[in-house]
C-alpha cells in the first residue's frame, strides 16, 4: 500500500496495528491516548486517532459506520486521479450491520477501489460467529454484490499480505472492490477483568495458552528463522529497537500537557 492510501481501522484495538503498520509514529497515538495536547487529535478524543498523511481521516466509536465512510474514501480515490485505494477493516460482529450491505452495494455499483477486510476472530463480544451469521464464511457475502470474496488464514501473515496485495492491485486497476475474510482468534478477553464466555462456559487460562501457540507473530517469527530471512540475533535487535521506540513514545506522551479549554471552540467549526 502507498502512504496516501486510505485505511479505515477496525474499531477494536483503536486502530493501533493498522496505524503502526502504515508508518504512523506511535508517540502521537500514545499521547492522544493519554489525553495530551501533543496527541494525534490534540487530546480531545483520546482514541479516535488520525493521521491524514498516512490515509487515516477518522476513527469511529459506533460499529459499522466505517463502511459508509470507506465508500466516501473510495469515491475520492476514484475521482481525484491519485490512484489511491481504500482498505476498510471490520470484525465479524460488525459485519452484522446494515451499513455493510448499503456500502458493499454502493462500492460495487460504482466500482470503487475498496478492499473490505474482515478480521473474523470468531467472537462478537461473547457471541460465537455461528450464532450471529447463518453461513460459514462472511466472505460469501461478496458474491451477492458481484465482487470477489476470499477466505484466508488470518494467522498466516504472508497469506494475508498476498490476498490483500491482490485485492489492492485489482482496486487500483479500477476493477472495483473485493472482500477478504481473515479467520483468526481472540487471544485476550473482550473486557479486561471479565472472562470470555462461550456457550456459557468461561475460557480458561489453558485455552489461551493453546490459542497463543497460533499467534501470527510467533508463527511469522518461526517462519523467518526457518527460512533464514532473519537470525535470532537480528530479531532480538528488532525487539530492542521496538523497546527504545516505545520508551521514547512514553516519554513524549508524559511530557505533553493537557489541552487548553479554548480549543473547544477552535475545533468545533472551521473558519
Amino acid at each position: 500500500m502507498n502512504d496516501d492510501d486510505f485505511v479505515f481501522p477496525a474499531v477494536r484495538g483503536h486502530g493501533l496495528p493498522h496505524l503502526i503498520s502504515k508508518g504512523v509514529d506511535p508517540k502521537y497515538y500514545l499521547a492522544e491516548h493519554c489525553g495530551k495536547s501533543t496527541g494525534s487529535c490534540g487530546g480531545v478524543s483520546t482514541y479516535h486517532n488520525i493521521d491524514t498523511e498516512h490515509g487515516f481521516f477518522g476513527l469511529a466509536g459506533t460499529l459499522g459506520t466505517g463502511f459508509p465512510i470507506s465508500v466516501g474514501y473510495g469515491m475520492t480515490s476514484k475521482w481525484n486521479g491519485k490512484q489511491q485505494v481504500v482498505v476498510s477493516c471490520f470484525g465479524d460482529g460488525t459485519s452484522n450491520r446494515g451499513t455493510l450491505h448499503e456500502s458493499f452495494l454502493m462500492a460495487a455499483n460504482w466500482k470503487l477501489p475498496i478492499v473490505w477486510v474482515c478480521e473474523n476472530n470468531q467472537l462478537s463480544m461473547y457471541v460465537p460467529v455461528k450464532d450471529h451469521h447463518p453461513v460459514e464464511n462472511i466472505a460469501d457475502l461478496a458474491f451477492g454484490y458481484g465482487m470477489p470474496g476470499e477466505v484466508v488464514d488470518g494467522q498466516d501473515v504472508v497469506a494475508v499480505a498476498k490476498a490483500v496485495d491482490k485485492a489492492v492491485a485489482r482496486a487500483r486497476a479500477g476493477e472495483g472492490p473485493s472482500l477478504i475474510e481473515c479467520k483468526t482468534e481472540r487471544f485476550v478477553t473482550h473486557s479486561i477483568g471479565l472472562p470470555d464466555r462461550i456457550d456459557l462456559e468461561d475460557r480458561t487460562k489453558d485455552d489461551y495458552v493453546e490459542l497463543k501457540k497460533r499467534d501470527p507473530v510467533v508463527l511469522f517469527q518461526e517462519k523467518l528463522l526457518k527460512e533464514g530471512v532473519l537470525t535470532q540475533k537480528e530479531m532480538e535487535r528488532i525487539d530492542q529497537e521496538i523497546a527504545v521506540e516505545i520508551d521514547a513514545a512514553e516519554a513524549f506522551a508524559d511530557a505533553g500537557s493537557p489541552p487548553d479549554p479554548s480549543v473547544l471552540d477552535d475545533y468545533l467549526y472551521a473558519k
Binding site: 478524543s45 479516535h48 481521516f57 477518522g58 459506520t65 466516501g72 475520492t76 456500502s103 472551521a270
Partner: protein, 320 residues
C-alpha cells in the same frame, strides 16, 4: 427586480456554485430525473459524475459524503424528505458534526445535507417533520432555514462555500412561492437575521414557512397590533442580538416553530431570551409549535401543526 420561485432559486444556487467550484457535486435519490424541480437540468449540464443517483441507502451515501468532504470535495446530499435523515442518523448527527472536533480540528467536513421539511400537505409523520431541534442538539452542524426565494438562493450558496457541515431545510409549502431574486452573484451570511416586517408592539420570531404565516397574521392585525417579524434565516449560528434588539422595542415575544414543541428551538430561544434579555420582557414568552404528538396525516394534521389562528391568538394574548 425579476421574480422567481423558491425551487428555482435553489436550482440557480446549485448551478452557480457547481460552475464556480468543480469539487461541488450533488448526491441523492432520483436527482437526475428531478424528483424535485430544484435538480432540474443539472445532470444534463454537469453530467452523471456530478449529479449522482444513489441506491436507496441513506446511511451509506451520507457517510460517504462525510468522507468525501474530508478528502477534498463539497458534496450536497439531497435526502428528498428530510424525515429520511433518521435512517442516516449516525452519519448526519455524529460523523458530520463531530469529526472535525473529535479529530482535533485536523479535518474539515464541508458537506451540505438538504431535504424537504415541514407539513401542511397531510403526508403524515414520516414526510412532514421539520426536525430542527434534533439538528440543533448536535453541536458542529449549521442549520439554514430559508423562508423566501431570495434567502433560499443566498443561504444555499453560503452553505456550499462553508467549510463545515450544513443542514439546509427547504419547505414543501414554499416550493412554489415567488419572490425577488437578483441575477448577480450574492450570498447571505449565516447568523444574520432579517427583519421581514417592522413593528412596535410584538416581536414574532419565525423561520421557514412559519415566516409566511407570521407575515399573514401581521398583515391582518395591521392598525390594531403592530407586529415585527424576525426571520433568523439560520438557527445555527443564531442571531440572538437581532431578537433582543427587537424585543427591546416591543417587550413581547412570540416564537413560531413548526417543530414539535417539547425541547424545541422555540423552547431554546425562550430560555436564551429569558437569560440574556429578562429585563426586556413585559409579558411571558409565547411559543406556537407543533403539538407534542406525531404529525398525523389527513384531516388531523391541522390540529397538531401551527396555524395563522394559533399565531394570532398567541400574539393577542401578549398584546394587552
Amino acid at each position: 427586480m425579476r421574480e422567481i420561485q423558491y425551487h428555482k432559486a435553489i436550482n440557480e444556487a446549485f448551478i452557480e456554485e457547481m460552475e464556480r467550484d468543480e469539487t461541488v457535486y450533488l448526491m441523492g435519490e432520483s436527482l437526475r430525473g428531478a424528483n424535485y424541480p430544484h435538480s432540474e437540468g443539472l445532470a444534463k449540464r454537469f453530467g452523471d459524475q456530478r449529479v449522482l443517483d444513489t441506491p436507496i441507502c441513506e446511511a451509506a451515501f451520507c457517510g460517504a459524503a462525510v468522507a468525501s468532504a474530508m478528502t477534498g470535495y463539497r458534496p450536497i446530499v439531497d435526502l428528498m424528505f428530510i424525515d429520511f435523515m433518521y435512517t442516516a442518523a449516525d452519519e448526519i448527527l455524529l460523523k458530520a458534526p463531530q469529526w472535525r472536533f473529535m479529530h482535533g480540528g485536523k479535518v474539515n467536513v464541508p458537506v451540505v445535507f438538504m431535504g424537504a421539511a415541514g407539513g401542511g400537505m397531510k403526508l403524515a409523520n414520516e414526510h412532514s417533520q421539520i426536525p430542527s431541534s434534533i439538528i440543533l442538539h448536535s453541536p458542529g452542524i449549521k442549520l439554514a432555514v430559508p423562508s423566501t426565494p431570495y434567502d433560499a438562493k443566498g443561504l444555499m450558496k453560503t452553505a456550499i462555500r462553508d467549510n463545515n457541515p450544513v443542514m439546509y431545510f427547504w419547505h414543501k409549502q414554499l416550493m412554489a412561492v415567488t419572490g425577488e431574486v437578483p441575477e448577480e452573484d450574492y450570498t447571505i451570511p449565516f447568523g444574520v437575521a432579517d427583519v421581514k416586517r417592522e413593528g412596535t408592539d410584538v416581536t414574532v420570531v419565525a423561520y421557514s414557512y412559519m415566516v409566511q404565516l407570521a407575515l399573514e397574521v401581521a398583515k391582518k392585525l395591521e392598525g390594531e397590533i403592530s407586529v415585527e417579524v424576525v426571520d433568523p434565516r439560520t438557527l445555527e449560528p443564531f442571531d440572538l442580538d437581532a431578537v433582543l434588539k427587537s424585543v427591546e422595542k416591543t417587550n413581547r415575544l412570540v416564537i413560531v416553530d413548526e417543530d414539535t414543541e417539547r425541547c424545541s428551538f422555540a423552547s431554546e430561544l425562550a430560555a436564551q431570551v429569558v437569560d440574556k434579555g429578562f429585563t426586556l420582557l413585559d409579558e411571558p414568552i409565547k411559543r406556537v409549535c407543533a403539538g407534542n404528538y406525531p404529525i398525523p396525516g389527513g384531516y388531523m394534521e391541522q390540529h397538531v401543526l401551527p396555524s395563522v389562528e394559533k399565531i394570532e391568538a398567541a400574539i393577542r394574548s401578549v398584546a394587552v
